[in-house]
């Protein structure tokens, strides 16, 4: 065809109906602006979560008893000649007499003469102990250990001017009473081993360690059990099948979708087996399938023919008749569907270690706001598919897993976790969130930093 013809086609102008106007376009613009604000709220919420996670990670050690401190208070009688604080608790006879409803704690502090660096840590420890003491508590006849705790609040802290630091506890029971706990409650939730009361437990040890802290240098005990950060490497995978053989659906899809995620996270021990933190994850999500599309299609057939018109007394004339027929019939098309979505996300992780019998199990939950790095192909569900064109799309995932934690060395534990993983992304054209739930399996390697 000549260029002249194409130009005519290109330059052709057509008139639209009255439902289209400049004002209508301006109205549509305003509506889109409002929707864009909503989208930014959604992504801002993700960023806010990440910020909160970071804050949680960087926040100073919480006042709740940490695993190490709980263990410290539940220890057998410990007398270290190099500690300066003297904690004296009343004997059991005194406990009974002092357990009045209006019992109040009296805490006396004396100026500390000693200027050794360890003194500061010790002060922090005694502050924490003081925080744990109930000031006023009603009597509870059903819980005798609570009375014991109340009585124990009559502790006097006396920082002596002795040259060496000293932490003296009357006995193990009184020590636990300091924290308002019974021995049974003073458990160490370790990563990989079931807790054992009245034992010192290295969270990563293959076996329980008994040791006498008197053999340790000053404050080494505290340093050894200082709550720490953990590095976690996780790989997890899952699948989701889309199967539809229903003839009532015009479009039916038969396919399988898989995902594989790799993530690294820094976790902070929040005490009592709780860990929280955040990290970085990379994941790939692929789908392979087939579709069958049954549609009632309308076809147009054009027939052109000449009709000779003969009227007596008139010259013979020919008329061109164009006959357009439309007919409908079911047509079935089949084809393949493939897609791939790669993404980077920031997992906000929460872990809870639970002793179950003689093993330790871990509950993992995480939320992962993120962004796609690559999208291609046609995303599908059981009855629909959608071409993916825009590369950068906001994603939000969530994972729930539960499995046993197995120690493999003094530093590392492995957690084997069946998991459920929900993945979603906002389809950029329609601004509609698409989500899928995958079931699968994951392995985590947790190491103490």
């Amino acid at each position: 065809m000549s260029e002249f013809q194409w130009d005519h086609l290109r330059e052709a102008e057509m008139t639209y109906s009255s439902r289209v106007s400049f004002d209508k376009v301006m109205e549509m613009r305003e509506e889109k602006k409002k929707r864009r604000v909503l989208f930014w709220w959604f992504s801002s919420a993700g960023l806010l979560l990440v910020g909160l996670g970071t804050l949680c990670l960087l926040w100073p050690t919480p006042s709740a008893p940490l695993a190490s401190e709980v263990a410290l208070t539940s220890s057998p009688s410990v007398i270290k000649p190099s500690e300066s604080a003297v904690v004296s608790t009343p004997r059991s006879s005194e406990l009974e007499s002092s357990s009045t409803p209006s019992a109040k704690s009296t805490i006396k502090s004396q100026p500390i003469v000693n200027s050794e660096p360890n003194q500061e840590k010790l002060n922090r420890l005694s502050d924490k102990l003081a925080m744990s003491i109930p000031v006023e508590a009603p009597e509870d006849r059903d819980a005798p250990w609570l009375n014991e705790r109340r009585a124990a609040s009559n502790i006097e802290f006396a920082h002596s001017g002795v040259q060496h630091n000293r932490l003296a506890m009357g006995n193990g029971a009184e020590g636990s009473a300091l924290m308002g706990r019974k021995d049974m409650a003073s458990q160490v939730y370790s990563l990989g081993l079931s807790p054992s009361y009245a034992e010192w437990l290295d969270p990563f040890a293959l076996r329980h360690e008994y040791f006498d802290d008197r053999l340790l240098p000053d404050n080494d005990l505290r340093n050894r059990f200082k709550p720490s950060l953990y590095a976690e490497f996780t790989a997890f995978t899952g699948s989701h099948n889309a199967i539809n053989f229903d003839n009532r659906d015009n479009l039916s899809v038969l396919g399988t979708q898989y995902h594989a995620h790799y993530q690294f996270a820094i976790l902070k021990d929040l005490g009592n087996g709780h860990l929280a933190g955040l990290g970085l994850a990379y994941g790939e999500w692929v789908g392979n399938g087939q579709y069958r599309d049954r549609r009632l299609e309308t076809f147009t057939e054009i027939d052109t023919f000449q009709v000779v018109v003969m009227i007596p007394g008139q010259p013979v004339q020919t008329v061109e008749v164009i006959d357009t027929n439309t007919f409908t019939e079911w047509s079935e098309t089949t084809g393949t569907l493939n897609y791939k979505i790669s993404k980077v996300s920031i997992p906000l992780a929460y872990r809870k270690y639970l002793p179950l019998g003689k093993s330790v199990w871990r509950l993992s939950a995480q939320l992962c706001p993120g962004m796609t790095t690559r999208t291609e192909g046609s995303y599908f569900s059981r009855t629909d598919y959608l071409p993916l064109s825009i590369q950068r799309q906001f994603t939000f995932d969530g994972r729930l897993a539960f499995g046993p934690s197995v120690p493999v060395s003094n530093v590392w534990t492995i957690v084997l976790e069946p998991n459920l993983f929900a993945q979603s992304f906002v389809e950029a054209q329609t601004r509609v969130a698409k989500a899928k739930l995958f079931s699968g399996f994951g392995v985590s390697l947790v190491g103490k930093l």
């Binding site: 639209y16 289209v20 376009v25 613009r29």
Partner: protein
């Protein structure tokens, strides 16, 4: 008012400039949308969506091509998205399997309106590729990128479109003789 002044006015949200832009190009772009879309209603929606995108993204226009070419591209993209949302399948076939019509000369005898009508009768998949390649002047590589299909599929769709047009034209010619 020059093209540049018009664009700058629109970027500054000058309603008068925006209205001039609308009145100058809306009918041309509507004609373009009609060639891609299934019906008038869909073409009208595509036209309004295109103008929303044009007004929102005029600041990204770098004057490397004419304003009309840029606006046509935006409109074509909107129309393609509408076609893709309808899940039109583009079957990839071997180029060599298609017999191309011998010449395009037969088309020259048609009027623009008749040609537009014939193009409008093409099946959805062929129509978009034919419009982009033959009328808008896209390369097969550009078509493949815009529509998310293979370059080979684009070529085969175009060949099929020409074949379908040829057969329609043959009927037309046959009816005439």
């Amino acid at each position: 008012m020059t093209e540049q002044e018009l664009v700058e006015g629109c970027i500054k949200e000058d309603r008068k400039c925006q209205e001039i832009l609308w009145s100058q190009y809306s009918q041309k772009l509507f004609s373009l949308a009609m060639r891609y879309c299934q019906n008038q209603e869909e073409a009208e929606d595509a036209l309004m969506e295109s103008f929303v995108k044009i007004y929102n993204n005029l600041s990204k226009f770098r004057f490397q091509s004419s304003l009309e070419t840029w606006m046509r591209r935006v409109t074509v993209n909107v129309c393609i998205n509408k076609i893709r949302a309808r899940k039109v399948s583009f079957d990839s076939i071997d180029d060599k399997a298609i017999e191309l019509p011998s010449s395009d000369k037969a088309f020259e005898r048609l009027h623009v309106e008749q040609l537009l009508k014939l193009v409008g009768l093409l099946p959805e998949g062929y129509k978009a590729v034919f419009n982009m390649y033959a009328i808008e002047g896209y390369s097969h590589k550009e078509i493949a990128q815009t529509m998310g299909i293979d370059e080979g599929t684009s070529r085969s769709q175009f060949a099929k479109a020409r074949k379908a047009l040829q057969s329609m034209l043959d009927k037309w010619e046959g009816g005439k003789s």
